[in-house]
Structures are given as C-alpha cells and as structure tokens.
Assembly symmetry: C2
Homo-oligomer: 655 residues x 2
C-alpha cells in the first residue's frame, strides 16, 4: 500500500479540491490562504460565518444530539439515539467548516473543537474501522444491509472531507487516521470484498478522490471509480423510491439529463469530474458536460437554484421551473458550486465560473440571513402573502430536524476564497471578483496581486501587481456572460477587452510590481426574459444587476402597493439606488422602476371568456427591488423574482 502524499509535508495548506500534479486539470486551485478576501459581501459572509454561524452550529450539534449519538457509540453515555440516521454527517460538515475556518485564520477554540471531536470519533470507531453511530447503536445487525437509505458511505464521505480539511490546514492527525481506517474498511468490503453495493446518497465518490489526492493511496481512487461504475446497474432498485431518485436508472456514461434527488445527483457529478481529472477517462467528462448543458438549458432557475420539486427533493421534467414551488435546496446549490468548480478546473471554460457565480450570489447566498443565524432549506423565487407549507410560513429557521444545510453552508463560506482564482501554464486566471489579495506560484515564480473593488455593487475591479516573476505571463479575467460590455485598462491605458473563446480577457505581458489592470463590467440594470418553454413564468420579466438577481419584496414597496399586483413594461427604465446600510439588510443597491399596479376583481370562478387585460385596472406606481440574496430579512410578506409584463405599457410614477 502506497502512502506517498502528493504534497510534501509542511507545504502551505491546500483547499478543498487539489488535483494531483498528474491530473488532467489544466487549471490548478490556489492554496487556502493564497486568497484573502477583505470586504465585500463575501468578506462579510466569512466574518458572519465565523462570528455567528459556526458557534451556532457547534451549539446545535450538542443540542440536537449529534455528539450525544457518537458518545453512545463510544460508550461514554447511555440513552437513545436521536435524530435521523445520517446525524453523523452534520457533525462532519461542521468539522470541515471549522477546519477550513481554522486554516483561514487560526484560533485555538476551533482547533480544540477539532481535537475533541477527533478523540470522540476515534473512541467511537470500531476496531475494524467502521464508524456510524446509528448502525452501531441502533441497528448493528443491518450494517451495509440497507445501503439505499443507510447513508453509511455518505456519512463516511463527509468524515473523509472533514479529515482532509483538517490535514490540509495542518491539524488533528487523529481525524485523518479515523477517516483512513474507515476508508480502508470500505475498500476491503466494497472494492476487494465483493459487496456490490453502492450508497443511496452519493458523496463518498468525490471524498475518496480527495483522500487519494491527499494521501496518494490508489485504492481510494479505485473504490471511487468502482462505485461510479456500479451506479445505474439497478443495485438499489427495490427501495420503493424508484431508481431515478438515486441516479441508479442508467450508467452515468449513458444518462443525458439530471434526475432524482438533486443533491445526490450533483454530488455524484462532482465525483465524476474528479474521477475524470485523476483517471483521464474522457467518457466521464463528456457525460457530465452533456448533463450540465441540459441542466443549464432546461432545469436551472434564474438564481442558479436546481431541483424544482418538493416531492423527493428532486429535479423535475425539462422546463418544469415553477418560481413558487421550486425546492432549490440549499445543499443542491452547494453541490452545483462543487461541480462547476471541477468542470472549470477540467476545461478552463468561463461558463462554469458564470454559473458558479450566479449560484453563489443568489441560490446559495439567499439561504442565510444577514446576521448568519437563520437558514433556508428551500429557496423559492416567489412567496405569496399568507404562504404556508404545512403550518410553516416559509421563513428561515435557526436549525432543522434534517440539518444538512446549515453546516454545509458554513463549509462553503469558509472556503469561498478557493473559488476565486487558478493558475495554469499560461499564468493566473481570476474567476470571481473580490477585494483583497491573491498570491500564487506560477512556474516562473511567485505572483501577488492586490484587488480593489466594490463588486458586486460597482463594476470596476482594479488589480495591482505586488510581486511578479520574470518573463511574460498572462492575467486572465473572466467576462461574465451577463455583462453586455467590458472595458480593460493596463497601467491606465485602454487595452483590448475582447474575451477569448473561454470568456476571459487575457492580458499577456512581462509584469512588474506596481503595474495595474482594471476591468470594468457593465452593471446597467437589465430585464431578463424566460425561454418560452418555461411555462411557469411565461409573460414575466425579472430584473438583474451584475451577478445579482433581484426580487420584489413587500417591505420595499410604497404604502398601498401590493407586490402581487406589480407588473413591468418590457422597456422599463431602472434606477440604481445605493444604500449604505438598509435596516435589516446592510449595504445594498436597491433598484426602482416605473411599474403598473394591476388589479383584477376576485369574483367567482377565475376562468372567464374574456382575456384578462379586459378586466383589469392599472395604476402607475414605482416598484422597488432588492437583491434576492438579501430577501426575508425584514418581514414575512410576499416576494416575487418574476413580475408579469404589464398588459399595456404605462408610464409615470408614484401611487
């Protein structure tokens, strides 16, 4: 058994995805501390995550019983198992978040939590490496006997990811030892032992590739590939959920559209691209790209949210994209970020960074309240007045009985700098624009940049070269597809701003400290229109500015203007109104526009022989929109991302 690590001991801490030097990744991520975010929304999320969310998560793990369950398995306490059977995974995601956070900025108490958890896990782990508090405490006789819903390998995957994080930030060897013992056990059972099972919930696939990347142990990669190859052979057909739910309906190389449980589907995709990167199996990449293109064209919301059905938390049919009933689970947005990032590493194509950005700033960011203490599990694009889901009014919660999302949010926010930039043989590529610093090792030597920007509130991003190696290298800056124009200057001189075929403006030259490059993206607010096949938002428009999708919340409208009556002309002029600190929301840019409040009498059966526009009354008003990611921080009123196009063009202002 080889145990050669791919990165020499003592190297700077890596991030969550580190393709091996031999991988097929033309783009290589930076290390965790190579990107420092200093301000902007992402900087604020990281501060809030550290100050509010992570402490809340640690408290909740104690209160909800996740730690209690492992203490039961460790023989430290007595009592009953609490919560769903995948409770261990919440702890693992929390551990991963804490590890990355400790890596981002050291703190003793974070390391303490990692150490204590590592000790508890080591104590709870069986001598053969197996570790799962539910199956050890409640149903030992069913170990690996109900893989369709046991989540044993799913939990193992999150344990591995936590351990990889802890190892990469240089802490807690105990956690890695626990994870490796469990991974070795899985290798013995499922790769060498002939057990043909696969887990109902993918996650282990990407985790095992990362463990291989960390340790060099080839059997982890082999097991991951084995689990992906076995998928679609009907191993879990008898579950009662059907095969599509588990992505077990077709071999992955044959499937051409995302189906079933959205989080499972996209965690699996992350693993598939990881496997391509490390094995070079082009058929894996080709199938994943094919499904990505289909998902983007037919199964993705404007916010980047995916998984439109409440039933089974699943992808719907093509073009089934309701704004009100869209499930858009937060974890699915996170999985989409993971998948897009790996596709970007594999191809360098800006379209993956585009969707990553859209998902990050909208579907994902909306999950968390401004203060970092309340979370959405479901992220619809519309909430009606008096909405209820069962008895729930559809606002954020502090925690969930199935608490997969909050710690998953925390681990992504802790690592969000990982998704900012990459190096390739040509130089440095910047994919996401954040203020702060970027440091990287090019083949020619070290480069360091300072970045000044008020993005996404303003469109100018200024890079200053602080350190540069000798010779020419390229600085590639992504031009988002949403930007209708772009300007670039180098050392204050206009430069060619034509994006290359990947969607990047590439400035190639010999650089010196003090050189500057500025890219200016076009943040003119814009209306967007849906494809005609998207029935649920036919005849509607939405408003965007930069990477931000906007929404109309009742809280922002003038007295007497009902969000549910608002309509927009297809040529509405939109005005940006910066807010230094909007109550409850913080810094933002509101958008105001001329609109019409249209009302139709509610009068018996709502289907009539007259076209609707013959029965309505229209009134000119001003409509105000707030970034979608900042919604539900004031009250519980109605919200709409999509507004109907006005029955007739109106003008004039006010109500």
């Amino acid at each position: 058994m080889s145990t050669t690590a791919n990165r020499p001991a003592g190297a700077p801490a890596g991030g969550p995805v580190e393709p091996t030097p031999d991988s097929r990744a033309p783009h290589r991520p930076l290390r965790l501390r190579d990107v420092h975010i200093d301000g902007g929304p992402l900087g604020r999320w990281q501060e809030t995550n550290r100050a509010a969310s992570i402490p809340l998560g640690i408290k909740q793990l104690e209160e909800a019983g996740n730690l209690h369950n492992l203490r039961l398995a460790a023989g430290e306490v007595t009592g009953d198992f609490r919560g769903p059977r995948f409770m261990d995974s919440d702890l693992y995601k929390q551990l991963e978040a804490v590890a990355w956070e400790a890596g981002r900025e050291d703190a003793g108490e974070l390391h303490d939590f990692l150490r204590r958890a590592g000790e508890l896990l080591a104590k709870a782990q069986r001598a053969d490496g197996y570790l799962n508090s539910y199956y050890q405490v409640v149903r030992p006789e069913r170990q690996y006997a109900e893989l369709e819903h046991s989540h044993e390998m799913y939990c193992a995957g999150h344990l591995v990811q936590a351990a990889v994080a802890a190892a990469r930030v240089g802490g807690e060897p105990e956690l890695l030892a626990v994870a490796r013992r469990f991974a070795d056990h899985l290798v013995e059972v499922f790769l060498r032992g002939g057990n043909p099972g696969i887990d109902g919930h993918p996650e282990i696939e990407t985790a095992l590739v990362e463990l291989y990347r960390l340790t060099g142990e080839r059997s982890y990669l082999d097991l991951s590939l084995h689990l992906v190859d076995e998928r679609g052979k009907g191993h879990i057909a008898g579950s009662g959920m059907g095969q599509r739910y588990f992505q077990d309906h077709l071999p992955v190389r044959e499937a051409d559209t995302e189906v079933g449980h959205a989080v499972r589907a996209l965690y699996l995709e992350a693993g598939i691209v990881d496997l391509y990167l490390e094995t070079g199996d082009e058929s894996l990449l080709a199938s994943s790209v094919r499904r990505w293109e289909d998902m983007v064209a037919t199964k993705t919301q404007l916010t980047g949210g995916v998984g439109s059905r409440h039933s089974h938390e699943a992808f719907g049919d093509r073009y089934e994209l309701p704004p009100d009933r869209s499930y858009n689970e937060t974890c699915a947005a996170i999985a989409s970020v993971h998948w897009n990032w790996r596709l970007l590493l594999a191809t360098g194509e800006g379209r993956y960074a585009d969707l990553l950005e859209r998902t990050l700033y909208n579907a994902f960011a909306a999950s968390t309240s401004t203060d970092g203490t309340r979370f959405f599990y479901v992220n619809p694009l519309q909430r009606r007045h008096d909405h209820t889901e069962g008895d729930d009014p559809g606002r954020r919660h502090e925690w969930f009985s199935c608490a997969c999302c909050p710690p998953n949010i925390m681990r992504l926010v802790s690592t969000v700098g990982h998704y900012v930039a990459t190096t390739n043989d040509d130089g440095l590529s910047v994919h996401q624009y954040v203020p702060g610093t970027i440091r990287a090792d090019l083949s020619a030597g070290e480069v360091a940049l300072s970045v000044r920007t008020e993005y996404p509130w303003e469109g100018e991003v200024a890079f200053a070269v602080d350190t540069a190696p000798e010779g020419e290298w390229s600085l590639a800056l992504r031009v988002p597809a949403w930007s209708p124009s772009v300007g670039v200057s180098v050392n204050s001189e206009p430069a060619d701003a034509t994006p290359d075929e990947r969607g990047y403006v590439v400035v190639r030259r010999a650089w010196s400290p003090g050189d500057t490059v500025t890219i200016t993206l076009d943040l003119t607010p814009r209306l967007v229109f849906p494809h005609q096949r998207i029935d649920a938002v036919r005849g509607c428009v939405a408003v965007e500015r930069g990477p931000l999708v906007y929404c109309f919340e009742q809280a922002d409208q003038a007295e007497g203007v009902d969000v549910e009556d608002l309509t927009l002309a297809p040529n509405a002029g939109i005005r940006a109104v910066p807010q230094a600190d909007l109550a409850g929301v913080g810094r933002t840019v509101l958008l105001t526009m001329d609109a019409a409040a249209v009302s139709q009498p509610r009068n018996g059966f709502p289907y009539t022989p007259q076209p609707t526009d013959q029965a309505v009354t229209s009134r000119a008003v001003t409509a105000t929109a707030v970034p979608y990611f900042q919604w539900d921080n004031r009250d519980g009123g109605a919200m709409r991302v999509w507004l109907p196009v006005s029955p007739q063009v109106t003008s004039g202002e006010n109500s």
Copy 2:
C-alpha cells in the same frame, strides 16, 4: 336509545344522501332507481363500471390483501398484515359501490359478495363492536392511541356508508348490524366516554349523519357534531404534519379557506353541510359557503380539480394552481362532488350544480380509462414529453399500493344518477342532463319524464312528460354558467328562457302526459382565460365546449406538430369535429383550430435580455383538442390543457 327509522320499512331504495323530512334541505334527492340513465357518457361509465371496474376491484381486494387482513382479524388464516393501515377502507368503498350497483340493477353475484363480506366482517368484529384489521392484528395496544394517523374512524365511516348503501338497496342486514355495533362503540368512547380525540382523516362525520338518517338514532348525529366541534382545538397538533394538514388549525366556523390534505378537507365539508341540514346550525353552513367561495375563486383548477400540491396531497396557497404539478387527487374530486351536492340540497343554487358538473365531467371522469380498468390518482392539466414522477411516466395504473381512488370512483359512478334531479315544494329540478328517465314523488303526486339528449356532445335536451299529477308544478332546468345563451320551448313553442336567480329556467304550469319541454344550451366552443393572479397559466388560453374542458394531446396532432410548440391566437376560430368512435377513445367531439407552432432555440441559459417573441419562429398549423376526460387513452405523449397565446396573431392552416 331511539331506533326509529325515518323511512318506513319497505320504502323504495334511497340513494347515498337522504336528508330527513325534518331537515333544512329545501331540495330532496330522488331514490336510486328513480333516475335511469340510458346512454351518453354517464351511461357508458356505468356500464363499464359494472362490467370492468367492479370485477377488477373485487379481484384486487383479494390480491392486495384487504380481505386477507380481515381474515387474519377473524382468525380464519394466519400470516402478516398487508398494505397500509387503512386497507379496510378500500374494501368498504368497494362494498358500497357493489351495494349501489346491486340496487341500480340486481345481480346475484353482487349480493353474494356483499353477504360474504358481511359475514367476514361480523366474524372479525370484536365483541365490543370495534373493528379494524390493522389495530386488531398488528397493534392492538395502540387502539385509539394514534388517531392522527390511525384512520380508525375514517375506516369506520366507510364501513357505515357501505352498510347504509346495503340497507337502502334492501340487502344484507348483517352489514348494517356490524356498522351499528362499531358506531355504538364510537359513541360510547368518544361521545359519552370522554375521549377527546378526533380522527386525523375526516369521513366519519358525513357517514354518521347518514346512519342517523337511516336509523333515526340521534346519538350518531350527536357524535358527528361533537367531532366537528372538537376540530380545530389542536387535539392532533403533535403529529409532525402540522395542524393545517388535518384541518385542525382553526374551529370550522372560523376557517375561511381550504387548507391541508384536500380529501380530508372536503369530506369534512360534506359532513359540515350534512350537520347543518339536520341540526339547522346556520353557522356551519355559512362557514362552509365562505370556504367554497374562496376555493372556487382561488384554489380550483379549470377541470374542477382541487388540491394543487403533491406535498401532503394538499391545497396550496391562493392562486397556486400549476397545471403540470397539480395533484388534483381523484378522491378530492369525489369529495368535491359530495360537498357540492349537499350545498345544492341546502340552497338550491345552481352554482353548486355547475361546479359538480365541471368536476364530474373533467377532474373526476379523467381518472378512469375508456375501458374502465386503469385509473389516475393524480390528475394534472399538463404532461410534458418524457415526464417522470420518480420512475413513473405518469400514466394510469390498474391499482395502487394506496388504493383509495379506484373503489371511490366505482361508488360514485354507481350512484351518479343520484346527482341528476331533486324535488322541492315547487316541483322538480333537473341539475344534470342525461338521457333516460326521471321519476319523482311531488307533494301532488307522481311525475315521470323521459329525457332524450346527446348531451354533452349536443346541446339540446328534450323532456317528455309521461306521468304528471294534477295541478301546477314547476320543472326547473339548470342553465350552466358556461352557456352564453339558452333556448327553451314548451310543446314546441318558444318559452321564456330567462334563468332565475338560482340559475334555473323554471317552467311552471299544469302538465299533462305528452307535454314536452326542450332546453338548448350553447355548445359553441369557447376560449377561456385565467385570472391574472394565477401565475402558472399566465398568457395562456384553454378551450371548452359545453361542460367539457379540452386538452391538446400529442396523439391528435399532425405529423411534425409538437404539442409543446402550440400557441393559439386569442380570437382563434374553433371547429367541432364529431367522431363516432375514435380509436381508443370512443365517441367524442374533437375540436380543431388554426394555431401557430412556435419554437425557440434551446441554446444555453434560458433567461435572456430579449423578450421571447424576438427569438421564436412561428408556423401556421392546425391544432386538435380532445375532451380532457378522454386523455391518455392512446399513447404516453405530451398533453396540455392551457396553450400559450401566440406571440403574434397567425392565420392559415396546416404544416
């Protein structure tokens, strides 16, 4: 304990709803054999129900284990309980269907089934009257301990309804005895015994009123009222489903909109109106009417289907009416028929018969295949190509693991004549138009009519008086709200066709045998438009003709015309094309119309800065529509009730 029956022994067999002579019902139903349907769709449904559906149901009850479970409870066999805990209720609904069918037209084998089932139930019943195979066999210690999901009273309600049916058609006293023993047990426990519980699934309420009507035993009425009065006091708050799911969130007199599980909600409404009828408590009627008006205006599909959410099989928010994801459970349509009928008896208002008709011919009738052997549980108004729900392609099934719908369909079809006409002090009212005969006892004496009509394929309905009592009485004929014009002739002379405030043309005169009355409804095909708040079908139109909602199925379109591309101009001319026997469908009237096939490239992210109509290509084609209730009898292709309005008006024909 009084046991005076309200109807003297030996009286003609009644139907499913028989208000007492002292009730507040101004309209009284006819007896089961007083309406004979001879042809037309409803006649055909009854034939198919008897020849195909009921035999299938009896076979399935054996195969699915419903009878097996009761044999377990009776000690006749050994083995495991099979199926969900409410399995008994499927048998009871089947028994009710068989009883009504035997009453409609005698047949020895139907009575044999009733007798054998009655014997089995008597044997399975405990000495104290309790009867529930699940709780007797599997969890005796939990009897009445988990009413939120036990379905014990729900099953009891269906037993009572089956027994009432058997008694009214003059058969099987054993079944009534079993039902009364169980009802007496419920009275002891819940009315007199102080158990404050209510059942999570309403149904017992309406059943107990009917048992009171049959037997005169007041305690059944008292228990029903008690269970309705206790609802909304939070007795089942701790179920994990929330209170709205069970309609336990508010006292019924306070609730103003339908919430939660749709079948539960509307069975409860049927019981509420029954209680009003027998107790005269106006607050019950007022609250039910208030919710009906809200439901009709904001929570009802064009087909009459209700319950728009898959999640919890529940009502959605107001105006949440997606065509593709609408659940529209068949049983909810049945419950809506039950409720509307009782409101009609209580008020005589045609609007309830209108919704009953719409629901019957569309939401309900679509549930069953032309051949009567396959059933929908879910009745959406749109199915996309390649649709899947889990692994299911969304076509009808022969049976279901939760088989509530098929026997429920059968009991309604067996009794559909019950909903055709009523008497009041003024005469005879005809609410639904079917060919055949109607006989009734007016206060002045017997009336008998023959009805000739090809309704709903043609608009003329001709009544001939065969028997008439002395003196003046009124023949009231409903004018459906969908009919833009109406003509009436009496003895071939034009007569006043102005509907009264209830929506009926009333012809009052002294009648003689041989007199004729003809009403002609306007079946001109029509476009209908949705209220602007119904987001999910904004910018769309649907097509109706008479009481029938139409849909566009792929099977009917010309080669090369994709249903998903079809759009209609808001002034489209529509042509009716009668079909004597369309393959797979039978007799029907197709509608054809000029349309435009509009296609938009599928090209990456489907949200763009251009209005959709700038990116589409349009082609003049002919679109063909088939009645919604006849859909899915050919292939599994796409179907739409709502078509988008064409981006520009097109003309010309064919592809």
